[in-house]
């Protein structure tokens, strides 16, 4: 009974955060398209409410939240995209550093799995950045084709995860040599089942290869890639879904700590925008990281899939827009 109540409460909070998201984004749209006149103070203040709503959803789905924040704020707010991305990065980073300690203490996230993934992804993101620059200079429209391809891949992963059985608790396979080498395992208490779930990564070598690909794409587009971590951890490395989303958050703490410096040095961090966004995210993700513990893994799956579908559509749209098709 207690479980039902907890989950009902969690679902109610998730629904409330979606309502806030729609109200804030809708009001911003009215202001941007001059249907109503909004005062200048509205914009930084509304960032607080927007990021609060994103903060509730992001830790549940294992993403930093930039995947929702950047397209919404770029389209609906008067700030230049440079500041949107700077604010989005600090906001996503805050979401991760607030949620990760709880996940680590609960056993849902593990440094033994996050460190190799992060080492590979950040190293290859440098290669990706170089490739991205070369594509831009040799074939200016190439990035848009890659972006469309990325959206299609995301859609494919979306359908695979949607239809795959046992995504919440993938069937345990024998650990491969890489998993055994780094002892990539752990355990956590699954409250909804009242049992300790033990896990160990399998196909970790293949998983790290996939993280290398994620790093290249992330570096090429200068984007965070929380949405990509989860399918690699869950579908390839056969980790339980909650472990995958939580470890994804832990990976984001490290990748964003690496990426933040360039935004700080180039002056893309303006406190007037960043501080309200960070505080909204702080409160939201404190709530979101608690929700993860009390809801069934299948709900985590649906929230993650919804965000993934949104990311796929946005990537395809951005690619087509860049090519002048839409």
């Amino acid at each position: 009974m207690r479980l039902e109540l907890n989950e009902r409460g969690a679902l109610l909070l998730i629904f409330a955060s979606l309502v806030i998201l729609f109200i804030v984004a809708g009001t911003a749209a009215l202001g941007t398209y001059k249907i109503v006149t909004l005062p200048e103070w509205y914009w930084p203040l509304s960032l607080f409410f927007l990021t609060f709503a994103i903060g509730v959803l992001a830790p549940v789905a294992g993403v930093g939240g930039g995947v929702i924040f950047v397209p919404l704020v770029s389209a609906l707010y008067p700030f230049h995209v440079d500041f949107v991305r700077g604010t989005g990065l600090v906001m996503a980073f805050t979401s991760a550093v607030v949620a990760a300690p709880r996940f680590l203490r609960e056993g849902l996230a593990s440094l033994r799995i996050a460190l190799p993934a992060c080492a590979v992804a950040t190293a290859t993101s440098i290669v990706g950045a170089i490739i991205g620059l070369q594509i831009t200079s040799a074939f200016p429209q190439g990035k848009y084709y890659v972006l469309i391809a990325l959206g299609v891949i995301l859609l494919f992963i979306f359908f695979v995860m949607m239809t795959a059985k046992r995504v919440e608790f993938p069937k345990a396979k024998d650990p491969d040599p890489v998993s055994r080498l780094f002892n990539m395992r752990g355990e956590y208490f699954e409250r909804t089942l009242n049992t300790i779930v033990q896990y160990q990564a399998s196909r970790a070598g293949l998983g790290l290869l996939a993280f290398a690909g994620v790093g290249i794409l992330a570096g090429m587009f200068g984007l965070g890639a929380g949405w990509a971590n989860v399918p690699v951890l869950n579908l390839i490395m056969s980790l339980p879904l909650k472990v995958s989303t939580s470890t994804s958050i832990l990976i984001i703490t490290m990748t964003d700590a690496t990426a933040a410096w360039i935004y700080i040095a180039s002056g893309a961090i303006i406190p007037l925008l960043v501080v309200p966004a960070v505080f909204g995210m702080y409160i939201g993700s404190k709530i979101g990281s608690k929700l993860v513990l009390g809801i069934r893994p299948v709900i985590v799956k649906y929230i993650f899939l919804a965000i993934m579908l949104f990311a796929a559509i946005m990537d395809i749209y951005k690619g087509l827009h860049g090519l002048g098709v839409v």
Partner: protein, 141 residues
């Protein structure tokens, strides 16, 4: 619940990240309060921000301060300004993660754990990224 075993390195990482996050958030909000109330002088005026926030970073900074930031000198040279205090709060977040990785690295080194190699790689990449503006390295993710 108490039967779940958590690695010491995970616990240390969690604690350090938590401490730096709280410190960073307190400093960020303190800076913003001092900025909005005018209790401390501002590096960039509030009105200038609103007027120029639709420009890219280069044009924004040229318009408001006549500079193009490329490293941390614009922060380090203005530590007595309210808005820069907030930026210092932001900087504490990645510093916390770097220190947390270094501490977990120390735990792994003490017990000759093979994951140490990966912790060293991550620590090196993070430190290089932080030093990026001075060594010509720009890490995106």
């Amino acid at each position: 619940m108490s039967a779940v075993k958590i690695d010491t390195a995970n616990k240390i990482y969690a604690r350090i990240v938590e401490i730096f996050t709280i410190a960073g958030l307190v400093i960020m909000i303190l800076g913003l309060v001092l900025y909005i109330t005018g209790a401390l002088p501002a590096y960039v005026k509030l009105t200038d921000i609103v007027k120029n926030w639709n420009k890219n970073t280069e044009k924004f900074w040229k318009s408001v301060k006549g500079i193009v930031p490329k490293d941390y000198s614009w922060i380090l040279g203005n530590l007595d300004k309210a808005d820069i205090i907030s930026v210092l709060g932001v900087i504490l977040l990645p510093i916390g993660v770097i220190i947390a990785v270094l501490c977990s690295l120390a735990v792994y080194a003490k017990r000759f754990d093979r994951i140490l190699v990966m912790a060293i790689v991550v620590a090196i990449i993070m430190i290089l990224a932080a030093a990026g503006p001075y060594i010509g390295l720009r890490v995106h993710h």
